[in-house]
Symmetry: D2
Subunit: 292 residues, 4 copies
């Protein structure tokens, strides 16, 4: 089939490659002309035969909105837009309505895979009406990993990004689980080779996983992670997971603790712990550590 | 080689089988004569040629202590005792000293694998002196999974049980991560097939793991887990992990949250939330829910 | 001075009474004619001399919006609207702009005090421009507790509701602190009179507070809180506090834990703990508790 | 009455003063001869008439054990030892048995009050048999604050230290509550005077407390706590509270979060967050922050 692909960055570029390897035609556009096959979204749309499928793979928020606005003016009834970026699920319904007003279909798709996707395939979670999903199906099949898994029609519009968001929330807490365990092992006097303990866990244990394999890779590069700072960014999806949980009154203690640990890691000094120190000093005369 | 094995319950019985399949001789004792090869630990010791290796696979605490006491009186210098049960790591050094006073070696070994161990092998984490570990090596090799992983000499006496304990702490938080994500997906209106979302995650995602595979198995048996109560026991190891973290001043927010979630799950009604309800009523005149 | 007061429920009714006791004139409107002094907001506005001050004390969200819409059409340049309800701080700027377009001032005011306010005074946190705040000042002085505290111009529009929201977040965690301590004391074998322990803490301790006094009141009514269910509602403000923290990347572990504890308290059975039980069963053959 | 007091440090010295002001005789011993009234514990015991009451006010652990050992050899049947230090409640029963073997009574007493105790009185929580408590009563009455509160016979031996331990656990979470709220307010653009918000809360709010008063004092000394580092020690009692909760399977999320926040505050760099950074880099190619 033919696919229009807007956004050819680290993710989009590799996805174009994987789709082409599967024998499909991809017309790619990017603001960076060195990456692009065409000079404009208008040219991209013109090169596709209807019913067209255009996959948007640009940063969530303003960039995605601008792209969808432009596509809404260029596409025709029966065409379908796929938002494969990291949009918040609450934007999906808005985009679906905007496009439906012109007879254009909309599918939201959460994509997991990172730098390993080109080689191993991308896990895909998508939401939308069956007729729209069916139009995109050959591309989904090209992108997904080999085997029976890695691709799911999760539900209505928004379900794809919601499922991907929850995936990332789970990811936060799994990473935190290994990280907590690693720190504790590093502190134990009796354990003399933490890296080998992690390595051994890769088979036969309850906690074997791909993330564990990656942890072993990281320890092989830097056994005690001495070259790194304990500083971790968070993407929007961890925050949105907690907000979605609050909306639904679902307790998420482990995922939220993992998000907060990242917040703390980025603070040069903790304001709240200054207040704790100040209070201890007030009632107990405890010495406080003053800034130099 | 020859191995004495004390304790032939669910775990010990399968381990005897796996060791025998590897061509070794196992003399097994259990209080239940239907399971045992010999009538007493004394008889077991008598059947082995020195240097003897006796693997203790009985419940942690009193049962393990009693068995080690008896072995201390029966074994000879150069023999080695392996504690493969779920002993707290703080007991290991005590046992090592007790046996060393008689010239007997000691190795502690954490064993993971559960009901899948006989077939897939057991992950083993052991601690002790190299000469003692070397004597047990053929049994470790028989028990471990095929391949390069699943067996580690983690450090000094105590390191095996410490590493296994941390393994279980990580396990708690990983399970909690999937559980939180599952509950949130079940609450989302747009997501119409949560089980298929979980299934799809088994390939190509960051969160693929053996536990995820098990979650899919569970959902295949009971899609919305409607036949289960939200009630989860905890073994000692989760508690010990948190206590070890407190000893070392290591923050463990995700693992501890997972432990506390299990505590809460077992409360018919929450005393602390009664106090919250009472306080809300006191200051705000908020209605409280009285018992029927 | 003269005040128009829209909303004469539990809070608004008592506030009218406290303002009148201070010698001011209050024209009150409520949808319930039994409570109201006038038949409509229009009549209320007509009874006041400019520059008018109208205090809105109705539920946050739609009711507040509708009232402000109506006032925007009735009031004149130089008048001031006060939103004393539990509005989310993010609504305040919108309301301020809407009214400013007509030359009408806006002050947001968080009010604490509950059922004790009529007698002890209400704590007030307000945001807005100084000239608008000054117009309302006599009413603030009438409502606030005696003494030097209980009334603060916290900052720009929105600051009042933001400060009140944070007050409630702190309140959640303080209540949780006492509740956790109470449950633990109730579990200790050696402690034979938990209520007297709480009572004793009312003087000389670091943790003495008004909430502690209320806890003692509650225990005097029902020593072990046996007549209550461990079931606690949450108002929007706890949720908004966590969301604001996420917006600002501020870790809020204790307040969030307190919110989640309330979520859990309202679940008949915990879906996430069903998943934990299912996983334990899958890998360990652990018995699960099935529904009857 | 006459009291022997062992330990005249910051706490013990002020307590001697407060007891003397109440008209009692105190014979004080300290290893520092500049503080002591007598040269040895033996001399102290010799100066008291039976039945003697000796109050031990030395650091928990070894120092307390040594003192009790010495007193066990010097006192006579019918005498009573009070442990007023910060001993872990689990030590109390051991000490009681040790002394009971010689016919000597034992009372454990948790003491709150810090640097304010001399002036305002000390809150006292004690455990032990009624006949032993009655012997100490005049000293309890001298130390406690004026009024009806601040002194409680909490239960059997151990109950005093247990109650004090829980008091401190609650204290941790209350301090954390204010600290989290303060940090969030400091981050809000609209709130221009956080200190005045805190000050205003001292009357009429649900969260007014002595700790809040202290927070205002601290902010009056240093409005944004700019001179402090966000670094907070923890005493043993917070840790013991969590351990006691684990023993009793009581979930303690807010108190534990508060303890972990202190642990984190003391880490120059967080090992666990290095692992998070390493994992993000492995799967996503996310840039990591390397050490300079």
């Amino acid at each position: 089939m033919e696919l229009g692909l807007v956004g050819l960055g680290k993710m989009g570029g590799n996805m174009r490659e994987r789709i082409r390897r599967a024998g499909h035609t991809v017309v790619g556009y990017d603001r960076n002309p060195d990456l692009a096959d065409v000079h404009s979204i208008e040219e991209l749309v013109g090169k596709l035969q209807g019913p067209r499928v255009v996959w948007v793979m640009v940063p969530a928020g303003e960039a995605t909105q601008t792209t969808i606005d432009e596509l809404a003016g260029l596409l025709e009834p029966g065409d379908v837009v796929v938002d494969g970026g990291n949009s918040r699920w609450t934007d999906d319904e808005k985009h679906a309505r905007q496009l439906a007003a012109k007879g254009i279909g909309f599918v939201d798709c959460g994509v997991s895979g990172g730098v390993w996707g080109l080689q191993n395939g991308y896990a895909l979670m998508y939401g939308g009406e069956a007729e729209h999903v069916d139009l995109v199906r050959p591309v989904f099949d090209a992108l997904k990993p080999e085997g029976d898994f890695g691709s799911v029609h999760a539900g209505r519009v928004g379900a794809g990004h919601f499922a991907k968001m929850v995936h990332n929330g789970i990811e936060y807490a799994m990473m935190q689980a290994y990280a907590e365990g690693w720190e504790l092992l590093e502190k134990a006097d009796s354990v003399t080779d933490v890296r080998e303990v992690f390595r051994s866990w890769q088979e036969g244990t309850v906690i074997r996983s791909w993330l564990l394999d990656l942890a072993v890779n990281a320890l092989d590069e830097d056994e005690h992670l001495e070259q790194l700072r304990g500083y971790a960014q968070d993407s929007g999806e961890g925050r949105w997971t907690v907000e979605a949980a609050i909306d639904h009154a679902v307790p998420l203690p482990a995922i939220t603790a993992s998000l907060f640990a990242r917040f703390s890691s980025r603070q040069e000094d903790s304001p709240q712990m200054k207040m704790i120190a100040a209070l201890r000093n007030q009632f107990g005369g405890h010495a406080v550590t003053k800034k130099p």
